[in-house]
Symmetry: C2
Subunit: 207 residues, 2 copies
């Protein structure tokens, strides 16, 4: 009789693996990657650290698997059915920047991952960066490059600056109480100033 695993398992490999992945996320959220010690991860997962080695091969592989399990670029991916306005990507760029500004501010784990990418050269982080590039390439090559023609690279540089600025400001606002250029990035007022600036700069770029 195949009992179809409906009975409660006291020992479940998959559930235990998930506990480790959840522990990584929890620690990443609360302490950042410097808190991702072997013993702490195991304690947070409520399991013995030995299992981390038997299931993942070690702390690093566990972390790699966590990063792979996340889809941080889901919010910038262009929906296949979504039609893109015939404006050279103006509206799409605006929406993407504003969406990223909000998403990164709210997603503390992603902030930590971005920070990580500035500190280490971990392979799984490299893969994440490649994903970002691949996603961006779609927008650039098919839409904005043809629109801006000889100025295509300048448009890419502008987007690079704005995206980077968004990342930095969002992370800065999370870890610091201080203002930046006199703006308080934690308040709705400060943030809407940035949003207006983003919109303004894109408008000016398409003039």
């Amino acid at each position: 009789m195949e009992q179809k695993k409906e009975v409660k398992q006291l020992r479940d490999k998959e559930k235990s693996k998930q506990k480790f992945l959840d522990a990584v996320e929890k620690i990443l959220h609360s302490k950042g990657f410097s808190g991702l010690k072997v013993n702490d991860i195991a304690r947070t997962a409520g399991l013995d650290k030995k299992l981390m080695y038997t299931y993942f091969g070690g702390r690093d592989q566990l972390i790699d698997e966590y990063i792979r399990s996340q889809d941080f670029w889901s919010n910038v991916k262009n929906e296949p059915g979504d039609p893109i306005a015939d404006d050279g990507g103006k509206m799409f760029s605006k929406a993407m920047l504003l969406s990223q500004f909000d998403y990164v501010f709210k997603n503390k784990e992603f902030q930590k991952i971005l920070l990580w990418g500035l500190l280490e050269n971990r392979k799984s982080l490299k893969k994440l960066a490649d994903d970002r590039e691949e996603n961006g390439a779609m927008l650039f090559e098919s839409i904005t490059d043809p629109h801006f023609k000889e100025n295509a690279k300048r448009y890419r540089a502008i987007i690079a600056l704005l995206i980077s600025g968004i990342y930095y400001l969002d992370i800065y606002a999370t870890t610091n109480d201080c203002t930046f250029c006199g703006l308080d990035l934690k308040t709705a007022e400060g943030r809407s100033e940035i949003e207006e600036a983003l919109s303004f700069l894109i408008d000016k770029t398409y003039e």
Copy 2:
């Protein structure tokens, strides 16, 4: 007879303190702040770690003193004798952004300090951020705010985005081999694209 300390001292408190401060810089440059362990600092300084405690009080106070000893904003400070063109701060803003883009790229220690500011809330780092704000306030309040009037805050937001973008891109270029938005920030070509974009955006902002 006061011998005026001209003889070579085998034991010199000030020189030893400086050795510790130099060790902090060296480690910060090579390994980043995660490498600033008590034992490593002492080994790099070539002295016993006990001296770190007797002279500075501990690792943290040593690091604080190192940060205080640096003047990372010297390159953006407006020289008192330097006249500012009567263009609402346009040229000054441009020059400041381009100067920062180059300075941060070359100064790896400053990169590490900036990163540190995104990770911790150390008091001495807070002081550094306050210095930045104070420096900026001079430009904003006396020059650009009067020029942009009701749009003063938008200008601040634009500068905040561009400065942040510069920081992020420079740090990213240092730690990663990957491109950003298809631009290679390590090559002269890629960097001049960013410089042109900065100049372009400031021009458009002043239109």
